[in-house]
């Protein structure tokens, strides 16, 4: 057992640091060509980096003050790009991966639908084969980056005669195609909209943009979400990102607010939980380095991390008292760090309610932990075995 993290003088770190020193303002094309965009992917796309090297690389990005490709083009680098490596065609890889890793084409993920919510297999968007194209019709929602993405990874139903999980397929679509309409959703923060709704009206997609085979869509969704959740075990305020309990403690000590006995104990609890979440991340990393199954960190980690983050921002917000209700992001001093989107406590707080909704609600995650990890009996879904077409029939006849 060895809990040491890669040291400052680790030769692998030196090599990466040197590269950043030689390339002070690298373009993402250069970063991609060096293999650093998705270092954990196999060559030629990445460096086949083990999680430890990946950890070093992430740290060196921060040190160099360069935003990581996986924060800029998250859907391509984190969630969906690897599906092209495992299930895509060579033509798809050559066409889509280089511009994705160079952050020249931003991707978005067209999964959630207005009628589905947590029941993400209940996709109603359809893809109908016509000659050498598919014709897509339907509506997606809660799509990050859809307003500027060039590429969408879409889940649509190719077969309604089988059960809901079996009739799904994935497509790589051009977001500039005729028939794609993107509208921003103004969320409760009042800040720049993070999410969009996307209408797909007779969108023509070439048949060779099918990812994997027809009917394989659900399997791909599960892999992609698992990757996403594992990434959310981190101890930041929102989905693992943003300031952590370390920064909270720093701010409370610096302002003297830590002297309040109630804040003191609550902050200590959160600090401890944050440190343990870090250990969970490292353990997942260590397991992958050592060829052990990634195990359960993904779902359990997100299940603990999401409310943890909410409580961090909540405590930070409460230190402002009534002044915190005025739009004003001066909550607690933060050390000079770039946290990306969730770069202050105020936004993290007002955004907070979303973190136990997105990427699986807290309840869905608990079901998943209880069923898949603890082995408790599966919940009954009366629609899971029915042909999808019949589910809708039942609903409409009931409504009539």
């Amino acid at each position: 057992m060895d809990f040491n993290l890669p040291a400052e003088d680790d030769p692998r770190r030196q090599e990466i640091r040197q590269w950043f020193e030689q390339h002070p303002n690298p373009t993402y094309k250069q970063i991609a060509e060096r293999g650093l965009s998705a270092a954990n992917w196999p060559a030629p796309w990445g460096m086949g980096a083990d999680p430890e090297l990946q950890y070093i690389i992430d740290e060196e990005f921060v040190r160099a003050g360069v935003a990581t490709p996986h924060s800029i083009n998250a859907i391509a680098v984190n969630q969906c790009g690897q599906s092209l490596l495992t299930h895509g065609t060579e033509e798809q890889r050559q066409r889509f991966i280089p511009p994705a890793l160079a952050c020249e084409e931003i991707w978005c993920m067209l999964f959630s639908e207005p009628s589905g919510g947590s029941d993400i297999a209940a996709v109603r968007t359809t893809a109908r084969r016509e000659g050498d194209h598919y014709i897509i019709n339907g509506q997606k929602i809660w799509t990050s980056a859809a307003d500027y993405a060039a590429i969408g990874v879409l889940v649509a139903r190719t077969d309604s005669s089988v059960s809901k999980h079996r009739g799904l397929s994935q497509f790589i679509i051009d977001m500039n195609s005729p028939g794609v309409t993107v509208n921003p959703i103004y969320d409760m923060t009042g800040e720049k909209p993070e999410y969009n709704e996307v209408f797909l009206d007779n969108v023509k997609v070439p048949a060779d943009r099918l990812l994997g085979s027809e009917g394989q869509g659900w399997q791909l969704v599960m892999q992609q979400l698992q990757t996403e959740r594992a990434g959310m075990t981190k101890p930041g305020a929102v989905w693992g990102y943003g300031p952590t309990a370390r920064e909270l403690m720093h701010g409370l000590i610096e302002t003297g607010k830590i002297k309040d006995p109630l804040i003191r104990d609550e902050a200590a609890k959160l600090y401890i939980e944050g440190e343990l979440l870090r250990l969970l991340v490292y353990r997942g990393m260590s397991n992958r380095i050592n060829g052990k199954p990634a195990g359960i960190e993904g779902n359990i980690g997100k299940m603990v991390a999401a409310p943890h983050g909410q409580q961090l921002s909540d405590l930070a917000k409460r230190t402002q008292g009534v002044a915190g209700l005025v739009v004003n992001d001066d909550v607690l001093p933060l050390p000079d760090k770039n946290y990306g989107l969730f770069s202050n406590w105020d936004y993290s707080f007002w955004f907070g309610p979303a973190s136990t909704l997105g990427v699986g609600t807290q309840e869905i995650l608990k079901n998943s932990v209880a069923e898949h990890i603890l082995g408790l009996p599966r919940d009954v879904d009366p629609t899971s075995k029915l042909p999808f077409a019949d589910i809708n029939k039942t609903k409409s006849s009931a409504a009539a």
Binding site: E254, I272, I300, I373, L374, L376, P377
Partner: protein
């Protein structure tokens, strides 16, 4: 970097598990109004000695096995999982204090005897009121010729009645120091408390001019050095307890049928158990990291064990609460083992100070670092 257990660790844990699964029998404790004297302290100890467990963390130079704290938690975890009743906690506590405060000669003598299985110890730090760091102790040491005599009282001493010798914290002219007394000496009176956790022997101590040997290197830091290690022991027990309690509850929830379904298929039950699984995972990470940090002498060892003890205590209490609630009223009866775990969880979160006190220690460490 490798957070996982080695095969040697797993083998050690599995052999401890096999032994304890076979030997620990709580049936006598599940008779109403059972007391700790029915827990089997006497029966288990000789076998534990034979397995060499008292020698695990005794340095090799004193005749021990000199193994790491990671090795130790393999054993302690199984003791905690099965609520095995034996004076291992007291012997470890006393040994560590002798290691911290004893001279070379004292370490050779006492630790050698512990390693050989010939000496059971207890450590008396808490005063009458349970305070571990009181400015004035309820026990005092005074000079008597070349040696000392102790008078006064100590409380909440784990494994005192089973011990051969007790290490006592008492105030002398030189401040707080640590002394070794014979448990059977004239002037020592040990009363086993009517302690709720009947799998552990906890006693009060009255001392009336008891001849005592000063541990010659006693100083103010000795207790915090020992306390770090005892935090690890209790946190490890708690971690293992959570794991057991969770799996026992899951099994019950799968089998118990109500309204035509196993109760484990209801989300109200599932979500509670998922929460406990989360607490369990984090506790395990905390305990393993703490054991590693102590073994390495890492500078973060103190904060790591303190965090582990605080988090493990709260998590264990949350888990045992659910353990009884999910079982329903049957889980509230004396004949079920649920209450044994419920009481151990309570005891573990008070014996070395409360989780709130440990969190205070954590904040103080961070404040010092920030200053």
């Amino acid at each position: 970097m490798d957070f996982s257990l080695s095969e040697d660790h797993e083998a050690l844990r599995d052999s401890a598990a096999n032994f304890l699964n076979k030997e620990v029998d709580h049936s006598a404790l599940l008779a109403p109004k059972a007391k700790v004297d029915q827990a089997g302290y006497d029966k288990l100890w000789p076998q534990i000695v034979e397995l060499g467990w008292p020698a695990i963390v005794v340095p090799e130079s004193y005749g021990g096995l000199g193994m790491s704290y990671i090795d130790l938690i393999m054993i302690i975890g199984e003791m905690g999982r099965t609520l095995a009743a034996a004076p291992l906690f007291g012997t470890l506590a006393g040994s560590w204090m002798i290691e911290a405060a004893g001279s070379e000669a004292q370490k050779s003598e006492f630790l050698g005897a512990v390693a050989a299985g010939e000496l059971k110890l207890a450590l008396a730090v808490a005063d009458d009121d349970g305070g571990l760091d009181n400015a004035v102790s309820s026990a005092t040491a005074s000079r008597n010729g070349d040696g000392y005599v102790l008078s006064g009282s100590k409380n909440y001493v784990v494994d005192a009645a089973s011990s051969d010798k007790i290490v006592v914290a008492a105030d002398s002219d030189n401040g707080r120091q640590f002394f070794v007394i014979d448990s059977g000496a004239a002037g020592v009176s040990i009363e086993t408390l009517d302690w709720r956790d009947i799998t552990r022997e906890v006693c009060s101590l009255k001392l009336d001019n008891v001849p005592a040997e000063l541990l010659e290197k006693s100083n103010a830091e000795c207790w915090s050095w020992v306390r770090d290690r005892l935090y690890l022991v209790l946190a490890t027990e708690s971690r293992a307890g959570i794991k057991f309690v969770l799996s026992d509850t899951v099994e019950y929830a799968k089998q118990r049928v109500a309204f035509g379904r196993p109760i484990g298929s209801f989300q109200a039950i599932k979500h509670q158990l998922a929460d406990i699984a989360g607490l369990g995972e984090l506790t395990e990470a905390a305990v393993q990291y703490a054991a590693w940090a102590l073994s390495e002498g890492d500078e973060k060892a103190t904060i790591a064990v303190t965090m582990a003890q605080s988090y493990a205590s709260d998590s264990y209490n949350a888990a045992v609460h659910r353990y009884i609630q999910v079982f329903g009223a049957i889980g509230f009866t004396w004949e079920m083992k649920n209450h044994l775990y419920f009481k151990r969880a309570r005891a573990n979160s008070e014996l070395l100070g409360s989780p709130v006190e440990q969190r205070e220690q954590v904040v103080q460490i961070l404040e010092r670092k920030a200053a």
